[in-house]
Amino acid sequence: MQMSDTREIAAPTDIVWRAILDAEVLRACIPGCESLSGSVEEGYQAVVKQKVGPVSATFTGVVQLSDIVEGRSLRISGEGKGGVAGFAKGGADMVLEPTEGGTRLSYTVDASVGGKIAQLGSRIIDGFARKLADEFFTRFQEAVEGPEQEPPTEAEAAAEAPKKGWFKRMIGG
């Protein structure tokens, strides 16, 4: 599965960049993330809980940042093992560009699954990966700039959304 999208973020590029490298932001943005520890250099150990179609599983694995071009682009990738449920892996290539209103974040996401999730959930896996990616970047955008003005959608409200724009406020941006 592959998909691409762009988002306009109302924050300067350096703020966005710092947010990407922040473990706390990462933890809050990865849907279903129960814990995340480690560092940019060493990579993160993560525990993520997800339900794909009929299969629900807790994935343990690593999240890594690579191909880092300071302030400009990187790749975030992860691979998780869910025991009998199978495994999932994927990543996103992200590029930041300054714009008039802030920063344009372009990303290309790829994801694949294996084992029981693939065997039982293949029909829904594309839509599922799309939804997860969308959720990740929505949360990321909110973390950096606060939510858009319209009321939150059901999915956003249901998610354990962090405080609006908290990263930006935290660092005084």
Binding site: G83, V84, G86, F87, S112, V113, G114, G115, K116, A118, Q119, L120, S122, R123
Partner: protein, 789 residues
């Protein structure tokens, strides 16, 4: 009207009483005191190097007795292959090792890596989660052509993914090429024969038991051929002498080929029971079945038909890539070769045929025989290319076939592909089909469909199969590592009832009914006096089991031979008792009479005399009445038929609806018409399933995408029409005593091309003349896309 119970009677199946009342005894119903449960840990990746397997945590968990890995099977042979094919260059096929549990590498999703054996199944499953397995995933090779053009190696040690490169008939190759150069017209078609999952209703089960004091092993397993499993597993895998190994295949809930093969799980439970000194049971889940039962078909083919100016077929040339999957299943090599290439003459007098088959290893579940096995693939390409040729030439597909049929007076007919058809009448089945399907009324029905905005089409397909496998000396020359005779012991009991021990195996075919009908007919006693026993190597003579529509033709013939021995001996006893010449003794309706006299002895008088031999010619004859016979056929049998399908295509959606399906089969003589009809119905459902719905799909990484009934579409009652089935155009087989040909696979062989031909016909009638082929399954999206060009 045949008498109730003899040959020709539609006797109700006696086995159905237990099946329909829940009294069947299947392998999973067998539970042995002290039994442990095995749970297989299977690969989640299609290809990878096993770095580490750590079982310590799992072995410390509650109820766990042992966690097995390949290290526990170092002294054990690999799963053997029962057929060796020779490549065009004279080299034997590549035959990689197939370990019981993966060694070093995993090669397909579902490849077994480790097994947890515990007191309960739940404990085994829980502990499986604690087994730490570290696998470095390798790129999977999925596409057959890429696999033999430098793709990653499935088996590093054999250096190639090309198992064999087979040419048939190799000596005809130049002549075939020449015929194509001289052809007035050549029709070419590229097609895929879609991979199928057999999906018998009962998943596989294996229970191993071991008696320490005697060294006796017992394996209860869901098999179509327990003696073959005993031979393969005993001699080649576990080195257990046959007298210390009993294999029992009790009631088996469908096989369709997938339960012919010797599987790793069988060897595992047998060995584990010995190691642990306790019975070990494994029951496949449906999910496991999807990734561990051998699958079917998966051919990619280019077929070319050459015709002269008068539309006579002058040559057929085919090139096929046949997917073997990751390992060679027991009979996998012979399916795309000897069960496929030899059928490419079909019903036609095409003088020259050449086929090249490349068998390829990929990171997929192994492929082997599935209902029809090679013959559906041959029939599909032949009947599709003939249909395409008719369209290109602007002639009727019906008449193009008729023109090229082998004529009734040409039998026995030597085909250019080795086999000799003994009997057949293809004109007769075609005429019967056209009559039964009211072909004359087709145009009116098409007009009526058109008025409703639907496109109606008619598709015809003729098939032939080689059944009743097979002459042992012939298949031996062709690479079989087994004989293919069949056996029967007929035990007449003292009071006249009969127990037949057959080497055949029934897993839905109804042998307990039909075999009893044959004995009833031969001796003239009621069928209820005859019991058919099968499935246990401890009481049946060595037999090769049931597949390839062979049981009545080969197993039935063995039983007839043994029964004739019984009758001959009984006549001798009768002659003695009635003081007459043996030549004057006649047996009719269960009575022995002396020709030209009123002397008479009943069947029971004779059987009792055999076991209470007070007045008996003991000096010249042994007492008792029990005979065994082995029957090795002198030729294959050649069931054939004409199948017609009418469909409606909705041009708005591409949805295909089957309006009618007609089958005119020649099965030779028929013992039980109702059972034959049921066999045809089942075969048609599976053939229509392949044509319309079923498709086993892996993604580019080798993940199984159609791994459950949510994604693998089985035909349901509303997907198939009411069938019109006929078997009156019988030309009895000339070389077996019953004159029977076999009917088990016909439906699955003849129906897929009939369906696809009908869909193409409908589209052409609707003006979509650019559509020359649609690969199966002809799903709405594929049909719609084809219509869009």
């Amino acid at each position: 009207m045949p008498k109730d119970g003899g040959i020709g009677a539609s006797t109700k199946r006696r086995e159905d009483v237990r099946f329909l009342t829940g009294k069947g005894r299947y392998t999973d119903d067998i539970n042995i005191r002290g039994q442990l449960y095995a749970h297989f840990i299977r690969s989640q990746v299609a290809h990878g190097t096993i770095r580490k397997i750590d079982t310590r945590d799992a072995e410390a968990m509650p109820g766990v007795v042992k966690v097995f890995t390949s290290a526990d099977f170092t002294g054990v042979g690999g799963i053997p292959t029962g057929w060796q094919v020779t490549s065009r260059d004279g080299q034997p096929m590549l035959e990689p090792k197939h370990p019981v549990l993966a060694e070093g590498k995993v090669r397909h999703v579902g490849d077994p890596i480790a097994v947890v054996v515990a007191e309960t199944l739940e404990q085994a499953r829980d502990a499986a989660e604690a087994v730490e397995i570290d696998i470095d995933e390798l790129p999977a090779v999925m596409d057959m052509k890429a696999a033999i053009q430098g793709g990653p190696l499935v088996h590093d040690e054999i250096g190639s993914n090309l198992c064999y490169d087979w040419g048939f008939v190799e000596e005809n190759k130049a002549a075939v090429d020449e015929a194509f150069r001289n052809a007035a017209h050549v029709t070419t078609l590229e097609l895929v024969n879609n991979r199928l999952v057999a999906n018998p209703m009962e998943p596989r089960v294996a229970v191993g038991d071991y008696e320490d004091h005697s060294g006796q092993h017992t394996l209860y397993t869901t098999s179509q051929n327990p003696h073959v499993i005993r031979l393969l597993m005993g001699a080649f895998v576990l080195s257990i002498p046959e007298h210390k190994l009993r294999v029992v295949a009790p009631d088996v809930g469908g096989g369709f080929g997938s339960k012919i093969y010797h599987y790793a799980e069988e060897a595992f439970v047998t060995k584990a029971a010995q190691i642990l000194k306790r019975p070990v049971k494994w029951t496949s889940s449906r999910s496991e079945a999807f990734m561990s039962d051998a699958q079917g078909r998966d051919h990619v083919t280019r077929v070319e038909l050459a015709l002269d100016a008068d539309h006579n077929f002058t040559a057929l040339r085919c090139e096929t890539y046949a997917n073997m999957g990751a390992y060679l299943s027991t009979f996998a090599p012979c399916i795309p070769t000897w069960l496929h290439g030899t059928l490419l003459a079909g019903n036609y007098k095409t003088p020259l045929v050449y086929t090249n088959v490349k068998a390829v290893f990929t990171n997929t579940v192994p492929v082997d025989a599935y209902r029809g096995a090679g013959r559906p693939e041959a029939t599909f390409q032949l009947e599709r290319v003939i249909d395409k040729a008719a369209r290109e030439l602007g002639v009727s597909p019906v008449e193009l076939r008729r023109k090229n049929f082998i004529q009734p007076d040409q039998f026995p007919y030597q085909t250019p592909v080795a086999v000799v058809y003994d009997t057949g009448n293809y004109q007769a089945t075609l005429d019967k089909l056209l009559e039964l399907s009211d072909h004359a009324g087709f145009e009116a029905r098409a007009a009526e469909s058109k008025a409703r905005g639907k496109l109606r089409g008619f598709g015809l397909a003729h098939y032939i199969e080689a059944c009743g496998i097979a002459p042992s000396n012939l298949v031996g020359q062709l690479g079989a590592r087994a004989g293919l005779y069949e056996s029967a012991t007929v035990r007449v009991n003292a009071t006249g009832s009969i127990t037949v021990f057959t080497g055949s195996h029934s897993h839905g075919q109804g042998h307990e009914t039909t075999f009893a009908q044959v004995i009833s007919e031969m001796i003239g006693i009621d069928a209820s006096q005859v019991e058919i026993v099968h499935g246990d190597t401890s009481n049946t003579p060595m037999g090769m089991g049931t597949y390839g529509s062979r049981s009545l033709a080969v197993g039935g013939s063995a039983m007839v031979k043994a029964t004739n021995k019984i009758i001959n001996k009984a006549k001798k006893i009768a002659a003695h008792l009635m003081e007459a010449s043996e030549a004057d003794i006649e047996l009719k309706d269960g009575k022995f009479t002396v020709a030209g006299t009123d002397k008479e002895k009943s069947w029971v008088d004779i059987t009792l005399a055999a076991y209470v031999p007070h007045n008996y010619p003991l000096e010249s004859m042994e007492p008792g009445l029990e005979e065994t016979a082995f029957y090795d056929p002198s030729n294959f049998t050649y069931p054939a038929g004409a199948y017609g399908c009418e469909v409606e295509v909705d041009p708005e959606t591409g949805k295909v609806t089957i309006c009618s399906f007609t089958a005119a089969d020649d099965f030779g003589n028929v013992v039980n018409p109702m059972i034959v009809e049921g066999q045809v119905h089942g075969g048609l459902a599976q053939g229509i399933g392949q044509a319309m719905l079923e498709n086993c799909v892996f993604d580019e990484n080798g993940q199984l995408l159609s791994g459950s009934f949510m994604d693998y579409a089985m035909p349901r009652a509303d997907d198939v029409p009411f069938y019109s089935v006929d078997h009156s155009c019988a030309t009895p087989c000339t070389h077996n005593p019953l004159g029977v040909k076999g009917c088990g696979e016909a439906g699955a062989i003849g129906s897929p091309p009939a369906v696809v031909n009908a869909v193409i016909d409908a589209l052409h009638r609707g003006g979509f003349t650019h559509v020359t082929h649609i690969d199966m399954p002809v799903s709405p999206s594929r049909v719609w896309q084809a219509m869009q060009g």
